[in-house]
Each structure stands twice: as structure tokens, then as C-alpha cells.
């Protein structure tokens, strides 16, 4: 025993030390990473974010410098809080709250302490910054919008959230990333790659030189500039016309699928979401759940298409050879089926062929056509699948494989869709509302515009897209290949002739523009809202689709104006003006322009929320407003 006491002690101490080493270096030690080493300062060098230009090279989005005060809590030393707070223009409670929040996030990672300092505050603070260990200033680049239009197109950038941080290790807290629109869908192109410098620190938090002579440092890679397909002038004009209205507009160049205009109303000034005022404005816009300005109606608004869908039914009927161009169908102020009745505005006994059917938007004509399509095979169960496949070949009922940040599928029903409602028997009359674009069919404005582009092209379309060109890159193939529809080219001419007649003699007779052959189609869609758990009918949506000129079309568009009543009342006028603006460059139909600018639908939108009973459609009174100031001065 006497001999082994020291012997044992040495061995035991040796074992305890080994265990402690194991605990410190293997069990409790994180995998070593230069990024987490607090002996190494990481200095990020943010590159210039790419600029955004419109299709004509007009600069839309540029950059402006911004300064954030960052904190790394575990490196903070006791400081003169009072002075620091007054420099940052915050009070002590805010200081403590922010500091604790930073610490909870992580004691060793940088956290944004105060964001977006003004240039003046930055100048004063920079001089004194060295006094505050653990705090530093990070220069970033903010967006500078050179325009007030296109908020829904351009989108915005904002601080990354936790989901972004988890998804992509590139980001660090406080980094900015695209949140909506082009900023989001082209984030990786626009952001470039930030550079990083590793700097060896000593225990007084002073830099003593580049870590390993800068071997691991990287240079920032500037973001690429992009050109988008939007025509800024047309976009601005459309947004002006859509003031005091809600809805969505998409205009496409049919020869390329380029989106010329993407309007969602109401909209906001993109500059509202930049810098210090961002968070206040964001909350305001985000909380406006009634007007919902962040909701991109042109991409996300799913509406029943109404009468424009009759064009689709006409094309399918011709392709399936269930009607001929000359066959006349009699309308008895509507269509009787299975003991029910679908009304129409034609005088009783009117005999319409295909072209007049389109021109007058005859419900009876298209109810008959639709039933013939479905009943052509043995039974309607097969017929509706044939019908559905034709419609889907126009890109309806599915996400268009595009480069837009948001979207909706819409809906083109088939037999499977109706399985739960009609498990056994299925007749063409069950779904007859689809004949006139109501019932179960639903589309977004961009889908409908694309359908019109395919009609304008007589049978094919290019996937609608927003990117025109990226510095030093070619566009992906998906945007440059033709997508063929399942309808033969020859069947388009009569339908287009019908659309032309809509302007010449039909429902859009008063919307003509001199010198341009416009082909169009009106739509008036019933819609309902649940008010106090009662399904209540609201004033119809005003819808219009068109393309022009008839030969070699340059623009195809779809206009939705919520609760605007009949198609040519709001949507048709807007469509005609946009076409004239795009093709001619200026406006001759100033009467229509003035009418649109002096009529507001705000009253109409307020009604369902007023809690009072209200009237719709024909029984309503349109709200007249004075002409906006800049217009009267003109």
C-alpha cells in the first residue's frame, strides 16, 4: 500500500486528465469552423445588386447605400450606454431589449442592432465606433426605385427570415434577399456573391492582420443586371387607368410570350418598402386584408372566366367536328335543358351561326355546342375528358412553367374532378355552366391572356415570362420553344373573325379604335361573397380579352375588373386604351380615358363591408370622382 499510493495517484490523475481532454476537445467541442471562430473577424463585402431595366432599357431599380449597426453579444464589453443610445437615437430600454434579443439569437453570431442608419447618423457614429467592442457597422446596399410603378412586378428586398437562413447557408442574419416579384424570382442572379475577409484578432479585439495571409478570402462578385419584358410606359398607363378599381391585367406579346404589362390593383409605391419606413409600411399593406395590395391579382386571382371561355368551347367544337361554321342555332331568349333554363339576352327566335354566336355572346349557342362536345363519345364521362385535355393544351388549369414568383393553378375540371359529386351517372347537362365559362372552370388573368395569345398565334404559344435578358446569359429553352395546342390552325380563323365582329358590330362596338383591327371578347361574371355566413351575390366582374392587330398580332391581353359589372363597362375600355397606347403610342379615345379616370368602384367595394343591405348590377349608381389633378392640368 505504501509503495503504490503515489503510483496509483499518478495513474488516476493521468486518466482524469485524459477524460477531461476528451470532454473538452471531443465531447463538448463543436466541429471547428472558421466562421464560428471568434478569434477570427469575418468582414463581409457586399457586392452591387444587379439593376433592373425595362424592355426599352429604361432603368427601373438601382441601389443606394445603407448602414446597419451590428452586434456580436459575447464580444461586447461594458460601455457608455447613455452616449451610445443617444448616437443611435434609441432609449435605454430599447437598448436592453435589443441586446437581449441578440443574445437569445446567438451570443456569437452577428445580429442587426439598428438597421438603416441615415447618412448623418452614420457619419457621427463611425468616428466613435471603435469605443464599442462587439459592435460594428455593416454597409449594405438598399434598393432605389427610379419609378413609382410596378410594385407587384418588381417586388422588394428585405431581411432574410429564419426559413431563408435554414434553406440557404449563403445567408446570414441581416442579409437582404428578394421577397416578392422579380427580386425574389431572380434573387440569385441579382445578388451576386458576397466577398469575405478573415482577419486574425487578438484578445483586445484588435485586428492583427489577415488570417493566413488572406488565403481563404474571397472577392465579391457583383450581381448581374437584368432586363425585364415589361414596357414601363404601358405599365404606368395601365396602373393609372386601374386607379380606384381592383383587378388584374396581363398583356403578352404573342410572338414571344413576353409579358408587356402586369398590373394588380390596388398597388403601392415600391419606394414605400425601402429603408427605415419599410417595416411601418409593410405592416400597413400587409394588414389591409380587404384591398389586399400584396395579393397579385394578375397571377393569383382565380376568377371564373365567363364569356371569353366561349372562344375555347368554339375551338374545341370545331376541332371535334360537332359544329360547322355555317350551322345556325336558334336562341329562345335562353336555353332549356332537363327542366331548367339558362337565360340569354338574344331576342327570342334569333338564329346564330358561329361568328354571330361569338359576336353576340349567345348562351344558347354555346350550351348546345358544349353538350355536343361532351355527348360526342358514348357518354359524357369520356366527352368531358376530351374537352378538358383540349383546354389544358392552352396552359389552362395548371401552373404555367414560368419565372414568376407567385401563381395559381386555376381549374379545368375533368371526369375525375366530378367523381365525388356525380359518382355514377354523368350527363352533359350537369356541367352546362362550363359552356359559358362559369361553374367549375376557373382561370387567372395570366392564363386567360396566354389563351388569347395562343388564339392570336393561331394555335401555339410561348410560355409567358418576365425576363428579357440577363447580362452574359441566354434565356432558358422553356421560354424560347413553341408550345403547340391541340387545335388545328384552320379552326382559329372563324373564331378570330367572330372576335373581330365583337368590335365591329357586337358587344364591344363602342370601344373601337381607328386604324386598328382589334379582336376581343367581353365577359360578365356573376360572383358571390359570404357575408355574415350568407352567400350574397355581388355586382358582376367586368372581364375583357383581346388581341391586336388581327394579322401579325403584337399584343394579347386579359383584363379583370372586380365588380365592374358588364364586360365593356370597365374592362373593355381599359383593354382598348392599352392596345391603342401600345400600338400607336398615344391615345385618340380620350373620351374613354376620361370616363375611366372619373369613375371609381371604391363605393362598390365598400358595400359588402358596410353591414347594410345593398343593391347590385343594374340597380347600382356609379361613383363619379373629379379628374386627378395632373390630368386636368394637361
Amino acid at each position: 500500500m505504501r509503495k503504490i499510493l503515489l503510483f496509483l495517484s499518478v495513474i488516476i490523475v493521468g486518466l482524469i486528465f485524459s477524460a477531461r481532454l476528451f470532454y473538452l476537445q471531443i465531447y463538448a467541442s463543436d466541429t471547428y469552423s472558421l466562421y464560428h471562430d471568434n478569434a477570427i473577424r469575418k468582414v463581409y463585402d457586399y457586392p452591387k445588386r444587379g439593376f433592373v431595366y425595362d424592355r426599352n432599357g429604361k432603368l427601373l431599380v438601382a441601389n443606394q447605400p445603407s448602414y446597419d449597426v451590428m452586434v456580436i453579444p459575447r464580444e461586447v464589453e461594458p460601455l457608455d450606454t447613455l452616449e451610445f443610445c443617444s448616437l443611435l437615437k434609441i432609449d435605454k430600454e430599447q437598448f436592453i431589449a435589443k441586446y437581449n434579443k441578440a443574445k437569445r439569437y446567438s451570443p456569437r453570431l452577428p445580429y442587426v442592432f439598428v438597421s438603416h442608419l441615415s447618412k448623418e447618423d452614420y457619419a457621427v457614429l463611425q468616428e466613435k465606433m471603435r469605443k464599442y467592442d462587439g459592435f460594428y457597422i455593416q454597409k449594405r446596399s438598399l434598393r432605389q426605385y427610379e419609378t413609382t410603378i410596378g410594385a407587384n412586378v418588381l417586388g422588394d428586398i428585405g431581411e432574410v427570415n429564419n426559413a431563408d437562413l435554414e434553406k440557404d447557408s449563403y445567408y446570414q442574419i441581416g442579409d437582404l434577399t428578394g421577397k416578392q416579384g422579380v427580386e425574389a424570382s431572380y434573387e440569385k442572379t441579382l445578388r451576386g456573391r458576397k466577398g469575405i475577409k478573415f482577419i486574425q484578432k487578438n484578445r483586445f479585439n484588435r485586428d492583427i492582420g489577415p488570417y493566413k495571409g488572406g488565403t481563404y478570402d474571397t472577392l465579391p462578385e457583383p450581381g448581374k443586371d437584368i432586363k425585364i419584358t415589361i414596357d414601363a410606359e404601358l405599365q404606368a398607363y395601365g396602373e393609372k387607368l386601374m386607379q380606384n378599381k381592383r383587378g388584374g391585367i396581363i398583356a403578352i406579346d404573342p410572338s414571344s410570350g413576353e409579358i408587356l404589362t402586369m398590373i394588380s390593383a390596388p398597388t403601392y409605391d415600391p419606394n414605400d418598402l425601402v429603408g427605415r419606413k419599410r417595416s411601418k409600411n409593410f405592416t400597413r399593406l400587409f394588414k389591409d386584408s380587404i384591398a389586399n395590395p400584396f395579393f397579385n391579382r394578375s397571377l393569383q386571382g382565380v376568377y371564373e372566366p365567363g364569356s371569353p371561355f366561349k372562344l375555347m368551347n368554339a375551338l374545341i367544337a370545331l376541332q371535334e367536328e360537332v359544329i360547322t361554321i355555317d350551322e345556325k342555332i336558334t336562341c329562345y331568349r335562353g336555353y332549356k335543358y332537363a327542366g331548367e333554363f339558362m337565360g340569354c339576352h338574344c331576342p327570342s327566335g334569333t338564329r346564330n351561326d358561329l361568328i354571330r354566336g361569338i359576336q353576340e355572346s349567345c348562351n344558347a349557342y354555346f350550351a348546345t355546342t358544349y353538350r355536343r362536345i361532351l355527348d360526342k363519345p358514348k357518354n359524357a364521362s369520356e366527352g368531358i375528358d376530351v374537352w378538358s385535355e383540349h383546354a389544358k393544351s392552352f396552359g389552362l388549369g395548371d401552373f404555367l412553367d414560368n419565372d414568376l414568383f407567385v401563381g395559381q393553378k386555376g381549374r379545368i375540371p375533368n371526369r375525375a374532378y366530378y367523381k365525388s359529386a356525380y359518382p355514377n351517372s354523368f350527363y352533359s347537362t350537369y356541367t352546362i355552366s362550363n359552356a359559358i365559362g362559369q361553374g367549375e372552370v376557373a382561370t387567372t388573368p395570366i392564363q386567360l391572356a396566354n389563351m388569347i395569345a395562343a388564339i392570336a398565334n393561331r394555335g401555339y404559344y410561348y410560355t409567358p415570362h418576365i425576363i428579357k435578358s440577363i447580362e452574359g446569359e441566354t434565356l432558358p429553352e422553356q421560354f424560347t420553344t413553341k408550345k403547340q395546342t391541340s387545335i388545328d390552325k384552320k379552326h382559329f380563323e372563324p373564331v378570330i373573325e367572330g372576335m373581330l365582329q365583337v368590335y365591329k358590330k357586337g358587344t364591344a362596338k363602342y370601344l373601337q379604335v381607328d386604324g386598328i383591327d382589334i379582336c376581343g371578347k367581353t365577359g360578365t361574371v356573376e360572383n358571390f361573397a359570404i357575408i355574415d355566413s350568407v352567400k350574397t351575390q355581388l355586382t358582376d366582374h367586368s372581364i375583357f380579352v383581346a388581341f391586336a392587330p388581327k394579322d401579325n398580332p403584337k399584343i394579347a391581353l386579359a383584363v379583370f375588373v372586380e365588380n365592374g359589372y358588364y364586360g365593356n363597362r370597365f374592362a373593355g375600355k381599359i383593354a382598348s386604351l392599352l392596345i391603342e397606347k401600345y400600338i400607336k403610342g398615344d391615345i385618340t379615345r380620350t373620351d374613354m380615358e376620361n370616363w375611366l379616370l372619373t369613375h371609381s368602384l371604391e363605393n362598390e367595394y365598400a358595400k359588402p363591408h358596410s353591414g347594410l343591405p345593398f343593391k347590385i348590377n343594374r340597380e347600382t349608381q356609379l361613383q363619379v370622382i373629379p379628374l386627378p389633378k395632373d390630368e386636368t392640368n394637361r
Binding site: R2, L5, V10, F22, Q25
Partner: protein, 424 residues
């Protein structure tokens, strides 16, 4: 034949382990004291250049120690001891104060720390005294005389305000115990250590309750005859000690001493207070643990330690040199260093037991015990297992006096050991 044998009489294993530690130690000093500029071996303002000189002089010292006849150390041990004591007294009057301790003679820019040499001198004196035929360590009077031999240098060093080095003299307990010091001493030390640590860590009452249970079980299964008064007496002692140590901790210790103990025993749970400790007196320890931990299993590589390069651990090339090993060489390197130290101490211990003369055995035992105390306190401190006590890691820490002191201590034993065969 006898001519060649002469060279192999020295224990080459010990010598090899010694050089391994000195050389690896120097590389770590280089890493810990480099400034990021080009390495200049001949610029003697750098610790690593100076240490290179110290190592060179050490080699000469080794030859000197080995060339002196072994009998000399035994014969002149008293003289050496007295000279050492005089040097220790002298330093109190003429010494230079560095880091609060008046432990250095300054000759120009060179300094010498007599305390580092006093350990060897005391070891010689103890060996001489115990191996004397008239000494019987079981005899209380002789025990007292032994204690005085140990305490004289220890107290002088305490007067220099070098508490750490004083504690090293506790190493002699192992030597005395080996040579027959009554078992009661060990029992008392163990009893006091365990009961007071437990009373501070777990509280007085739990300690007494657990001891009570333990003692009753022990009494119930007793083999020898034992009066009931013995365990009851022990329990009363335990009770008294537990409460008085708590009283002592709470009412007599200074706040900063309390803090050290509470940090060591992990008594402080309040995170803000812990943070404050890490910023103040526990700064070194905290940085040292972080540096070791950041090394991970394989380390960051020689001269690649970011915390070492950034000089995050103060005093890293002296007392905290082991944190450099931890950061740059990782678990593997640190483990090997611990292994080599353990092997060296065990080797010396093994050789001591082989000695034929009691003088050599006691001296060898002292050498092993002194190395052990240094090893345990220094590395224990750097890894946060022991309260902060500033003593160097033998052969590793920067400093000439320390290196020479340990070298002399070790090589006198190697010389004595080499005479083993001649002694019949």
C-alpha cells in the same frame, strides 16, 4: 567492456522522455510567443529565442551534473540545503518583484529564481536526513524535524508571495509516507479533504448524513473489534468540520477567494455572475479552456492556432503553455503529452524503488513526487479542474530557472541511479 558499459549505465528511457518534453515544449513556446512577424531565432527579446539559449545551457548543465561524483550530492546535501535557504532569505531583501512575487534575483536583464533550485536542495536534505541510521520516521520527534526541513523553504517561499510554489512542498508527504510515516497522517488528510470538499459542494447536512450512513454500515460489518465510540467520534468530528468549513468559507474568506472556490466547485449557477467571473479573475481559465476545446480531436496544426496567434490566453507561453498544445495539437497531441509525463513520473518512481541505498530511493521518490505535483496542479488548472494556482509545467513552460531547476532535480537522480551497480 567496462568502458562501453559506462555510457549505458544512465537510464536512457528517462533521458529520452526528458528531451522529448523539452523539445516539444520549445515548439509550443515558439507558437505561443511568435508575433506574426518572421521568426528570428537570434533576436533575444523573443521568448522562443531565449528559451533556445536556456535549452543550450541546460545541456551543459546536464554534463556538469552527470560528471560530478554521485557521493558528492549525498555528502554535501546539508551544505547545498543551507545555501538554498540563504538564497531564499536573500531574495526577500534583494529580490525583484515580478507579477506580485518577490522571487527573482536580477543581474542586469537576466533573472534567476532561487525557489526553483530549492526543491532539489530540499529533496537532497530530506533524503539525507531520512537515510540517516539514527532517524526513525515513526518517531514523533524525527517527524517534527523532517517537517521543519520541509517547512523552512516552504515558508520562505510563501513570504515571497509565491503560494503556488509553496504547495509543491506538499509533494514530500508522498515521500514520507512511503518511508513509514504513520498511516494516521494519510487518514487525516483524506478525511479533511473529502469532508470539507463535500461540505462546500453539497452542504454540511448532506455530508454528515452520508458519513453517518457510511460509518454505521462500516461499524455493522466490522471485522476487528471496534468500540462504538470510534465511529461516533468520527461522526462528531465530521459534523464539526463540515460546519466550521462552511463558516470559514462564508465568513472568514475574502470575497475573491470565495469566488475562486465557488467557480472551482461549480457552485455559482447565476449566468450573469458567471459571465462576470469569466471577464475578471477567471478570464485566463475561460480563454484557456476555450483554446483547448477549439482544438478538437486533431488540433489546428502547428502555428495555426487562431486563439494562440491572437494571444487570447494571457501567460500562454509560461503557466498556460498546455493550452497551446490543446489548440494546435488537439486531443491526440495533448493526450500524448499527458502520457509522456505519466510515463516519465512512473519511470522515475520505478527506478527509485530499484535503488539499493535509501538516500537514492528517497531522493528519487522526491523527484517523482515533485514532478507529479507540478503536473497535476498545472494541467489541472489549465483545464479548469483545480483552482487557479500559478506554477509552471516542468520542461514545457518558458523560463530558464524553472528549466534548470527541474533538470538538476532529475539529472542528480539519473546520476545517483547510474551508481546503483557500483554500490555493492
Amino acid at each position: 567492456m567496462r568502458q562501453t558499459d559506462r555510457h549505458f549505465k544512465f537510464d536512457w528511457v528517462t533521458i529520452l522522455l526528458f528531451f522529448a518534453l523539452v523539445i516539444f515544449g520549445w515548439f509550443n513556446i515558439l507558437s505561443a510567443s511568435q508575433t506574426g512577424d518572421a521568426i528570428e531565432y537570434l533576436n533575444f527579446s523573443n521568448p522562443y529565442s531565449k528559451q533556445l539559449i536556456f535549452i543550450g545551457l541546460t545541456c551543459i548543465l546536464i554534463l556538469l551534473v552527470l560528471s560530478i561524483d554521485g557521493k558528492f550530492y549525498e555528502r554535501f546535501s546539508s551544505v547545498i540545503y543551507i545555501i538554498a535557504l540563504l538564497l531564499l532569505v536573500g531574495v526577500l531583501f534583494f529580490g525583484k518583484t515580478i507579477n506580485g512575487a518577490t522571487s527573482w534575483y536580477a543581474i542586469g536583464s537576466a533573472t534567476l529564481q532561487p525557489g526553483e533550485f530549492a526543491k532539489a536542495a530540499t529533496a537532497l536534505a530530506i533524503a539525507k536526513y531520512i537515510s540517516d541510521l539514527n532517524t526513525d520516521i515513526k518517531n514523533v520527534k524525527d517527524q517534527m524535524q523532517t517537517f521543519i526541513i520541509i517547512l523552512l523553504p516552504a515558508v520562505l517561499i510563501l513570504l515571497q508571495n509565491d503560494t503556488g510554489s509553496m504547495l509543491v512542498y506538499g509533494a514530500f508527504f508522498f515521500v514520507l509516507y512511503r518511508e513509514g510515516l504513520p498511516k494516521d497522517y494519510l487518514n487525516i488528510i483524506l478525511f479533511v479533504t473529502i469532508v470539507s470538499t463535500s461540505a462546500l459542494k453539497f452542504g454540511a447536512l448532506p455530508t454528515v448524513v452520508v458519513s453517518g450512513l457510511f460509518l454505521s454500515v462500516f461499524y455493522y460489518f466490522r471485522r476487528k473489534k471496534m468500540k462504538l465510540i470510534q465511529p461516533i467520534g468520527l461522526l462528531i468530528l465530521c459534523l464539526g468540520l463540515s460546519f466550521s468549513i462552511q463558516f470559514f468559507y462564508k465568513n472568514i474568506l475574502q470575497p475573491h477567494q470565495q469566488d475562486r472556490i465557488s467557480l472551482w466547485l461549480r457552485l455559482e449557477k447565476d449566468p450573469t455572475k458567471l459571465e462576470k467571473m469569466k471577464k475578471t479573475f477567471a478570464y485566463n481559465l475561460n480563454e484557456s479552456e476555450k483554446a483547448i476545446s477549439s482544438g478538437g480531436p486533431y488540433g489546428k496544426g502547428f502555428m495555426e492556432g487562431t486563439r494562440t496567434t491572437g494571444k487570447f490566453v494571457p501567460e500562454q507561453h509560461t503557466d498556460y503553455i498546455f493550452s497551446t498544445v490543446g489548440e494546435e495539437w488537439g486531443f491526440i497531441g495533448s493526450f500524448i503529452v499527458i502520457l509522456v509525463f505519466t510515463l516519465l513520473i512512473l519511470r522515475v518512481l520505478h527506478l527509485a524503488e530499484l535503488q539499493k541505498s535509501q538516500f537514492s530511493r528517497v531522493y528519487g521518490y522526491s523527484v517523482a513526487a515533485i514532478f507529479f505535483i507540478h503536473f497535476m496542479i498545472n494541467i489541472g488548472m489549465v483545464m479548469g479542474l483545480i483552482p487557479t494556482i500559478g506554477i509552471p509545467l516542468p520542461f514545457f513552460s518558458y523560463g530558464g530557472s524553472g528549466l534548470w531547476g527541474f533538470t538538476i532535480l532529475l539529472f542528480i537522480f539519473i546520476k545517483l541511479d547510474s551508481n546503483r551497480i557500483n554500490e555493492w
